[in-house]
Symmetry: C3
Subunit: 147 residues, 3 copies
Protein backbone atom coordinates (compact mmCIF):
# COMPACT_ATOMS: atom_id res chain seq x y z
CA UNK A 1 0.00 0.00 0.00
CA UNK A 2 2.81 2.44 0.82
CA UNK A 3 6.49 2.64 1.57
CA UNK A 4 7.54 2.93 5.18
CA UNK A 5 9.50 6.17 5.47
CA UNK A 6 10.07 9.10 7.74
CA UNK A 7 8.58 12.56 7.70
CA UNK A 8 10.75 15.67 8.11
CA UNK A 9 10.39 15.46 11.89
CA UNK A 10 11.51 11.80 12.02
CA UNK A 11 7.99 10.57 12.74
CA UNK A 12 7.26 7.35 10.88
CA UNK A 13 4.22 5.67 9.37
CA UNK A 14 4.49 1.92 8.92
CA UNK A 15 2.24 -0.82 7.66
CA UNK A 16 2.03 -4.05 9.64
CA UNK A 17 0.43 -7.19 8.23
CA UNK A 18 -0.98 -9.76 10.65
CA UNK A 19 -2.38 -13.11 9.50
CA UNK A 20 -4.96 -14.21 12.07
CA UNK A 21 -5.70 -17.93 12.58
CA UNK A 22 -9.44 -17.31 13.09
CA UNK A 23 -11.65 -15.92 15.85
CA UNK A 24 -9.83 -14.94 19.02
CA UNK A 25 -7.50 -12.51 20.78
CA UNK A 26 -4.06 -12.58 19.18
CA UNK A 27 -1.26 -10.77 21.00
CA UNK A 28 0.72 -8.33 18.84
CA UNK A 29 2.84 -6.63 21.53
CA UNK A 30 6.12 -8.02 20.10
CA UNK A 31 5.33 -6.84 16.57
CA UNK A 32 4.48 -3.35 17.84
CA UNK A 33 7.66 -3.07 19.91
CA UNK A 34 9.69 -4.33 16.93
CA UNK A 35 8.22 -1.59 14.75
CA UNK A 36 9.14 1.02 17.38
CA UNK A 37 12.71 -0.30 17.41
CA UNK A 38 12.87 -0.34 13.62
CA UNK A 39 11.78 3.30 13.59
CA UNK A 40 14.52 4.14 16.11
CA UNK A 41 12.12 5.73 18.60
CA UNK A 42 13.15 5.88 22.26
CA UNK A 43 10.28 8.02 23.50
CA UNK A 44 7.16 9.38 21.89
CA UNK A 45 3.70 8.13 20.97
CA UNK A 46 2.59 5.03 19.09
CA UNK A 47 -0.82 5.12 17.39
CA UNK A 48 -2.18 1.83 16.03
CA UNK A 49 -5.02 1.83 13.49
CA UNK A 50 -6.71 -1.28 12.09
CA UNK A 51 -8.03 -0.99 8.52
CA UNK A 52 -10.93 -3.40 9.06
CA UNK A 53 -14.44 -3.38 10.51
CA UNK A 54 -14.74 -7.04 11.52
CA UNK A 55 -11.56 -7.19 13.62
CA UNK A 56 -10.46 -4.74 16.31
CA UNK A 57 -7.78 -3.72 18.80
CA UNK A 58 -7.64 -4.11 22.56
CA UNK A 59 -5.28 -3.66 25.48
CA UNK A 60 -6.04 -6.39 28.00
CA UNK A 61 -4.53 -8.77 30.51
CA UNK A 62 -1.93 -11.02 28.92
CA UNK A 63 -1.09 -13.15 31.96
CA UNK A 64 -3.96 -15.64 32.40
CA UNK A 65 -5.40 -17.11 29.16
CA UNK A 66 -8.62 -17.82 31.10
CA UNK A 67 -9.35 -14.08 31.18
CA UNK A 68 -9.22 -13.91 27.39
CA UNK A 69 -11.33 -17.06 27.10
CA UNK A 70 -14.02 -15.61 29.39
CA UNK A 71 -13.95 -12.28 27.55
CA UNK A 72 -14.46 -14.01 24.21
CA UNK A 73 -17.29 -16.19 25.55
CA UNK A 74 -19.02 -13.24 27.21
CA UNK A 75 -18.96 -11.21 23.99
CA UNK A 76 -20.15 -14.19 21.93
CA UNK A 77 -23.16 -14.44 24.23
CA UNK A 78 -23.88 -10.69 24.05
CA UNK A 79 -23.59 -10.65 20.24
CA UNK A 80 -24.82 -14.04 19.00
CA UNK A 81 -24.57 -15.26 15.43
CA UNK A 82 -27.85 -16.08 13.69
CA UNK A 83 -29.82 -13.29 15.37
CA UNK A 84 -32.98 -13.19 13.19
CA UNK A 85 -32.94 -9.36 13.38
CA UNK A 86 -29.81 -9.12 11.18
CA UNK A 87 -30.47 -8.05 7.58
CA UNK A 88 -26.79 -7.70 6.57
CA UNK A 89 -26.19 -11.42 6.04
CA UNK A 90 -24.66 -11.71 2.55
CA UNK A 91 -21.11 -12.11 3.89
CA UNK A 92 -21.97 -14.98 6.25
CA UNK A 93 -23.53 -15.42 9.68
CA UNK A 94 -20.40 -14.25 11.54
CA UNK A 95 -20.09 -10.96 9.61
CA UNK A 96 -22.73 -8.73 11.24
CA UNK A 97 -21.76 -9.91 14.76
CA UNK A 98 -18.17 -9.02 13.85
CA UNK A 99 -19.15 -5.45 12.95
CA UNK A 100 -20.98 -5.10 16.27
CA UNK A 101 -18.07 -6.53 18.27
CA UNK A 102 -15.67 -4.23 16.46
CA UNK A 103 -17.94 -1.29 17.34
CA UNK A 104 -17.87 -2.19 21.05
CA UNK A 105 -14.06 -2.39 21.13
CA UNK A 106 -11.35 -0.24 19.43
CA UNK A 107 -10.32 0.60 15.88
CA UNK A 108 -7.48 2.79 17.13
CA UNK A 109 -5.14 2.87 20.15
CA UNK A 110 -2.63 5.55 21.22
CA UNK A 111 0.09 4.40 23.62
CA UNK A 112 3.03 6.44 24.96
CA UNK A 113 6.52 5.08 24.17
CA UNK A 114 9.24 5.02 26.86
CA UNK A 115 12.69 3.40 26.69
CA UNK A 116 12.01 2.18 23.17
CA UNK A 117 8.80 0.30 23.95
CA UNK A 118 5.09 0.86 24.61
CA UNK A 119 4.52 2.04 28.20
CA UNK A 120 2.23 -0.86 29.08
CA UNK A 121 1.40 -1.82 32.65
CA UNK A 122 2.78 -5.03 34.14
CA UNK A 123 -0.13 -7.22 33.11
CA UNK A 124 -1.07 -5.57 29.83
CA UNK A 125 -0.68 -6.81 26.28
CA UNK A 126 -1.84 -5.39 22.92
CA UNK A 127 -4.22 -7.66 21.05
CA UNK A 128 -5.70 -7.90 17.57
CA UNK A 129 -9.17 -9.33 18.13
CA UNK A 130 -10.26 -11.35 15.11
CA UNK A 131 -14.06 -11.57 15.10
CA UNK A 132 -14.51 -13.59 11.89
CA UNK A 133 -14.43 -17.38 12.25
CA UNK A 134 -11.94 -18.00 9.46
CA UNK A 135 -8.28 -16.98 9.23
CA UNK A 136 -7.87 -13.55 7.63
CA UNK A 137 -5.04 -11.28 6.48
CA UNK A 138 -5.29 -8.04 8.51
CA UNK A 139 -3.50 -4.74 8.01
CA UNK A 140 -2.53 -2.22 10.66
CA UNK A 141 -1.18 1.28 10.08
CA UNK A 142 1.20 2.54 12.78
CA UNK A 143 2.00 6.21 13.36
CA UNK A 144 5.20 6.42 15.37
CA UNK A 145 5.97 9.82 16.81
CA UNK A 146 9.50 10.59 17.96
CA UNK A 147 9.92 13.04 20.84
Amino acid sequence: MFQNNKGTNNNMIMQLAVATPGQGLHEITPQINNAINEAGIERGLCTIFIQHTSASLLVQENADPDARHDLEQWLNKLVPINDPAYTHTSEGPDDMPSHIKSTLTCTTLAIPVLDGRTALGTWQGIFLWEHRHNPAPRRLVLHLQKD
Copy 2:
Protein backbone atom coordinates in the same frame (compact mmCIF):
# COMPACT_ATOMS: atom_id res chain seq x y z
CA MET B 1 -15.16 28.97 20.06
CA PHE B 2 -11.67 29.52 18.66
CA GLN B 3 -9.83 30.55 15.54
CA ASN B 4 -8.35 27.84 13.38
CA ASN B 5 -4.62 28.49 13.26
CA LYS B 6 -1.30 26.74 13.19
CA GLY B 7 1.17 26.07 15.98
CA THR B 8 4.89 26.73 15.54
CA ASN B 9 5.36 23.19 14.17
CA ASN B 10 2.59 23.60 11.55
CA ASN B 11 0.22 21.34 13.47
CA MET B 12 -3.34 22.65 13.32
CA ILE B 13 -6.39 22.59 15.57
CA MET B 14 -9.71 23.12 13.80
CA GLN B 15 -13.33 23.20 14.83
CA LEU B 16 -15.85 21.34 12.70
CA ALA B 17 -19.60 21.86 13.08
CA VAL B 18 -21.94 19.06 12.02
CA ALA B 19 -25.73 19.44 12.04
CA THR B 20 -27.21 15.97 12.52
CA PRO B 21 -30.71 15.17 11.19
CA GLY B 22 -31.57 12.99 14.20
CA GLN B 23 -30.66 9.53 15.47
CA GLY B 24 -28.37 7.56 13.19
CA LEU B 25 -24.89 7.06 11.75
CA HIS B 26 -23.90 10.07 9.66
CA GLU B 27 -20.75 9.75 7.55
CA ILE B 28 -18.25 12.58 7.99
CA THR B 29 -15.29 11.16 6.01
CA PRO B 30 -15.50 13.94 3.36
CA GLN B 31 -15.51 16.72 5.97
CA ILE B 32 -12.48 15.20 7.74
CA ASN B 33 -10.50 14.84 4.51
CA ASN B 34 -11.43 18.40 3.54
CA ALA B 35 -10.06 19.67 6.86
CA ILE B 36 -6.81 17.76 6.25
CA ASN B 37 -6.50 19.38 2.82
CA GLU B 38 -7.29 22.81 4.24
CA ALA B 39 -4.51 22.34 6.79
CA GLY B 40 -2.11 21.37 3.98
CA ILE B 41 -1.15 18.06 5.57
CA GLU B 42 0.19 15.27 3.33
CA ARG B 43 1.17 12.86 6.07
CA GLY B 44 0.77 12.84 9.82
CA LEU B 45 -1.95 12.07 12.34
CA CYS B 46 -5.56 13.22 12.57
CA THR B 47 -7.23 13.16 15.99
CA ILE B 48 -10.99 13.74 16.10
CA PHE B 49 -12.68 14.68 19.38
CA ILE B 50 -16.45 15.16 19.84
CA GLN B 51 -17.48 17.70 22.49
CA HIS B 52 -20.69 15.89 23.44
CA THR B 53 -21.80 12.98 25.62
CA SER B 54 -24.95 11.95 23.77
CA ALA B 55 -23.35 11.55 20.33
CA SER B 56 -20.16 9.68 19.49
CA LEU B 57 -17.62 8.70 16.83
CA LEU B 58 -17.11 5.43 14.99
CA VAL B 59 -15.13 3.93 12.15
CA GLN B 60 -17.33 1.32 10.48
CA GLU B 61 -18.30 -0.22 7.16
CA ASN B 62 -19.57 2.40 4.73
CA ALA B 63 -20.48 0.10 1.84
CA ASP B 64 -23.75 -1.62 2.77
CA PRO B 65 -26.34 0.58 4.55
CA ASP B 66 -27.88 -2.64 5.98
CA ALA B 67 -24.83 -3.03 8.23
CA ARG B 68 -25.44 0.42 9.76
CA HIS B 69 -29.14 -0.33 10.11
CA ASP B 70 -28.47 -3.60 11.95
CA LEU B 71 -25.88 -1.93 14.18
CA GLU B 72 -28.35 0.81 15.15
CA GLN B 73 -31.14 -1.68 15.84
CA TRP B 74 -28.89 -3.95 17.88
CA LEU B 75 -27.74 -1.06 20.08
CA ASN B 76 -31.31 0.22 20.49
CA LYS B 77 -32.27 -3.20 21.81
CA LEU B 78 -29.28 -3.39 24.17
CA VAL B 79 -29.93 0.13 25.51
CA PRO B 80 -33.69 0.67 25.43
CA ILE B 81 -35.43 3.95 26.14
CA ASN B 82 -37.88 3.99 29.04
CA ASP B 83 -35.85 1.59 31.22
CA PRO B 84 -37.51 2.08 34.63
CA ALA B 85 -34.05 1.92 36.28
CA TYR B 86 -33.03 5.31 34.83
CA THR B 87 -33.11 8.21 37.30
CA HIS B 88 -31.52 10.80 34.98
CA THR B 89 -34.68 11.54 33.00
CA SER B 90 -35.07 15.34 33.10
CA GLU B 91 -33.70 15.79 29.58
CA GLY B 92 -36.08 13.31 27.96
CA PRO B 93 -36.38 9.53 27.59
CA ASP B 94 -33.67 9.33 24.90
CA ASP B 95 -31.03 11.18 26.96
CA MET B 96 -29.78 8.52 29.39
CA PRO B 97 -29.69 5.83 26.65
CA SER B 98 -27.62 8.31 24.60
CA HIS B 99 -25.04 8.66 27.39
CA ILE B 100 -24.77 4.86 27.63
CA LYS B 101 -24.44 4.43 23.85
CA SER B 102 -21.80 7.15 23.77
CA THR B 103 -19.93 5.31 26.56
CA LEU B 104 -19.92 2.06 24.58
CA THR B 105 -18.52 3.73 21.45
CA CYS B 106 -15.87 6.50 20.98
CA THR B 107 -15.44 10.12 22.01
CA THR B 108 -12.07 10.32 20.28
CA LEU B 109 -10.41 8.71 17.23
CA ALA B 110 -6.78 8.92 16.04
CA ILE B 111 -6.18 8.05 12.39
CA PRO B 112 -2.88 8.22 10.45
CA VAL B 113 -2.83 10.52 7.40
CA LEU B 114 -1.21 9.39 4.14
CA ASP B 115 -1.27 11.12 0.74
CA GLY B 116 -3.38 13.94 2.16
CA ARG B 117 -6.19 11.78 3.50
CA THR B 118 -7.07 9.48 6.42
CA ALA B 119 -5.50 6.02 5.94
CA LEU B 120 -8.82 4.18 6.06
CA GLY B 121 -9.25 0.63 4.81
CA THR B 122 -11.21 -0.05 1.63
CA TRP B 123 -14.57 -0.49 3.35
CA GLN B 124 -14.19 2.00 6.20
CA GLY B 125 -15.89 5.34 6.77
CA ILE B 126 -15.81 7.78 9.69
CA PHE B 127 -19.20 8.35 11.30
CA LEU B 128 -20.75 10.74 13.78
CA TRP B 129 -23.31 8.65 15.62
CA GLU B 130 -26.19 10.82 16.79
CA HIS B 131 -27.94 9.08 19.67
CA ARG B 132 -30.61 11.73 20.42
CA HIS B 133 -33.88 11.45 18.46
CA ASN B 134 -33.99 15.07 17.35
CA PRO B 135 -31.63 16.96 15.03
CA ALA B 136 -28.77 18.57 16.95
CA PRO B 137 -25.83 20.89 16.22
CA ARG B 138 -22.64 18.98 17.07
CA ARG B 139 -19.08 20.24 17.38
CA LEU B 140 -15.88 18.35 16.72
CA VAL B 141 -12.34 19.48 17.49
CA LEU B 142 -9.67 18.18 15.11
CA HIS B 143 -5.97 18.03 15.92
CA LEU B 144 -4.05 17.71 12.67
CA GLN B 145 -0.41 16.81 13.04
CA LYS B 146 1.96 17.40 10.15
CA ASP B 147 4.93 15.04 9.77
Copy 3:
Protein backbone atom coordinates in the same frame (compact mmCIF):
# COMPACT_ATOMS: atom_id res chain seq x y z
CA MET C 1 8.62 4.21 37.18
CA PHE C 2 10.26 7.05 35.27
CA GLN C 3 11.27 10.67 35.56
CA ASN C 4 9.01 13.27 34.03
CA ASN C 5 11.08 15.10 31.45
CA LYS C 6 10.86 16.68 28.05
CA GLY C 7 11.89 15.33 24.66
CA THR C 8 13.89 17.43 22.21
CA ASN C 9 10.66 18.86 20.77
CA ASN C 10 9.32 19.92 24.20
CA ASN C 11 6.76 17.13 24.25
CA MET C 12 6.45 15.63 27.71
CA ILE C 13 5.62 12.22 29.17
CA MET C 14 4.35 12.27 32.75
CA GLN C 15 3.17 9.69 35.22
CA LEU C 16 0.03 10.42 37.23
CA ALA C 17 -0.95 8.35 40.26
CA VAL C 18 -4.63 8.21 41.25
CA ALA C 19 -5.83 6.43 44.39
CA THR C 20 -9.42 5.33 43.77
CA PRO C 21 -11.84 4.90 46.71
CA GLY C 22 -13.47 1.81 45.16
CA GLN C 23 -15.92 1.12 42.32
CA GLY C 24 -17.22 4.20 40.54
CA LEU C 25 -16.54 7.07 38.15
CA HIS C 26 -13.90 9.39 39.61
CA GLU C 27 -13.35 12.72 37.85
CA ILE C 28 -9.73 13.48 37.00
CA THR C 29 -10.20 16.60 34.83
CA PRO C 30 -8.38 18.85 37.34
CA GLN C 31 -5.37 16.53 37.57
CA ILE C 32 -5.11 16.36 33.76
CA ASN C 33 -5.30 20.14 33.36
CA ASN C 34 -2.72 20.57 36.13
CA ALA C 35 -0.35 18.26 34.27
CA ILE C 36 -0.83 20.30 31.08
CA ASN C 37 0.01 23.48 32.99
CA GLU C 38 3.03 21.87 34.61
CA ALA C 39 4.29 20.88 31.15
CA GLY C 40 3.81 24.46 29.97
CA ILE C 41 1.60 23.51 27.03
CA GLU C 42 -0.79 26.09 25.62
CA ARG C 43 -1.94 24.12 22.62
CA GLY C 44 -1.34 20.60 21.40
CA LEU C 45 -2.60 17.12 22.14
CA CYS C 46 -3.00 15.25 25.43
CA THR C 47 -3.01 11.45 25.32
CA ILE C 48 -4.00 9.62 28.50
CA PHE C 49 -3.17 5.94 28.93
CA ILE C 50 -4.18 3.78 31.91
CA GLN C 51 -1.78 0.97 32.83
CA HIS C 52 -4.50 -1.35 34.13
CA THR C 53 -7.06 -3.81 32.78
CA SER C 54 -9.66 -3.61 35.55
CA ALA C 55 -10.10 0.17 35.49
CA SER C 56 -10.63 2.38 32.47
CA LEU C 57 -11.03 5.92 31.11
CA LEU C 58 -14.11 7.77 29.96
CA VAL C 59 -15.25 11.21 28.86
CA GLN C 60 -18.81 11.68 30.08
CA GLU C 61 -21.28 14.19 31.49
CA ASN C 62 -19.99 15.76 34.69
CA ALA C 63 -23.03 17.91 35.52
CA ASP C 64 -25.68 15.57 36.93
CA PRO C 65 -24.42 12.81 39.25
CA ASP C 66 -27.58 10.83 38.42
CA ALA C 67 -26.21 10.23 34.91
CA ARG C 68 -23.07 8.59 36.34
CA HIS C 69 -25.17 6.58 38.79
CA ASP C 70 -27.41 5.25 36.00
CA LEU C 71 -24.41 4.46 33.81
CA GLU C 72 -22.78 2.47 36.61
CA GLN C 73 -25.98 0.58 37.39
CA TRP C 74 -26.63 -0.20 33.74
CA LEU C 75 -23.13 -1.62 33.27
CA ASN C 76 -23.37 -3.63 36.50
CA LYS C 77 -26.51 -5.25 35.16
CA LEU C 78 -24.96 -5.97 31.75
CA VAL C 79 -21.82 -7.45 33.32
CA PRO C 80 -22.89 -9.12 36.57
CA ILE C 81 -20.53 -10.54 39.17
CA ASN C 82 -20.87 -14.25 39.91
CA ASP C 83 -21.72 -15.24 36.33
CA PRO C 84 -21.24 -19.04 36.45
CA ALA C 85 -19.62 -18.92 32.99
CA TYR C 86 -16.50 -17.15 34.34
CA THR C 87 -13.43 -19.40 34.72
CA HIS C 88 -10.97 -16.58 35.61
CA THR C 89 -12.04 -16.29 39.25
CA SER C 90 -8.80 -16.56 41.25
CA GLU C 91 -8.59 -12.79 41.82
CA GLY C 92 -12.11 -12.45 43.21
CA PRO C 93 -15.67 -12.27 41.88
CA ASP C 94 -15.31 -8.63 40.75
CA ASP C 95 -12.15 -9.24 38.67
CA MET C 96 -13.49 -10.83 35.47
CA PRO C 97 -16.41 -8.35 35.28
CA SER C 98 -13.81 -5.58 35.64
CA HIS C 99 -11.86 -6.87 32.62
CA ILE C 100 -15.06 -6.97 30.56
CA LYS C 101 -16.10 -3.46 31.64
CA SER C 102 -12.64 -2.16 30.84
CA THR C 103 -12.91 -3.78 27.39
CA LEU C 104 -16.23 -2.01 26.69
CA THR C 105 -14.83 1.41 27.65
CA CYS C 106 -11.39 3.03 27.01
CA THR C 107 -7.77 2.33 27.93
CA THR C 108 -6.60 5.41 26.07
CA LEU C 109 -8.00 8.88 25.27
CA ALA C 110 -6.58 11.61 22.99
CA ILE C 111 -7.89 15.14 23.61
CA PRO C 112 -6.79 18.36 21.88
CA VAL C 113 -5.38 21.10 24.15
CA LEU C 114 -6.42 24.74 23.68
CA ASP C 115 -5.63 27.72 25.91
CA GLY C 116 -3.69 25.51 28.28
CA ARG C 117 -6.47 23.00 28.95
CA THR C 118 -8.25 20.02 27.40
CA ALA C 119 -10.77 21.17 24.76
CA LEU C 120 -13.74 19.54 26.50
CA GLY C 121 -17.34 20.45 25.71
CA THR C 122 -19.42 22.36 28.25
CA TRP C 123 -20.80 19.29 29.99
CA GLN C 124 -17.85 16.94 29.65
CA GLY C 125 -15.45 15.66 32.30
CA ILE C 126 -12.63 13.09 32.17
CA PHE C 127 -13.17 10.10 34.45
CA LEU C 128 -11.15 7.20 35.75
CA TRP C 129 -13.66 4.38 36.07
CA GLU C 130 -12.66 2.01 38.86
CA HIS C 131 -14.30 -1.36 38.26
CA ARG C 132 -12.89 -3.24 41.25
CA HIS C 133 -14.89 -3.01 44.50
CA ASN C 134 -11.95 -2.07 46.72
CA PRO C 135 -9.80 1.06 46.68
CA ALA C 136 -6.80 0.69 44.39
CA PRO C 137 -3.70 2.69 43.43
CA ARG C 138 -3.91 3.38 39.68
CA ARG C 139 -1.26 4.76 37.34
CA LEU C 140 -1.78 6.83 34.22
CA VAL C 141 0.83 7.77 31.64
CA LEU C 142 0.26 11.13 29.92
CA HIS C 143 1.81 12.10 26.61
CA LEU C 144 1.63 15.87 26.26
CA GLN C 145 2.39 17.22 22.84
CA LYS C 146 3.27 20.88 22.44
CA ASP C 147 2.31 22.58 19.16
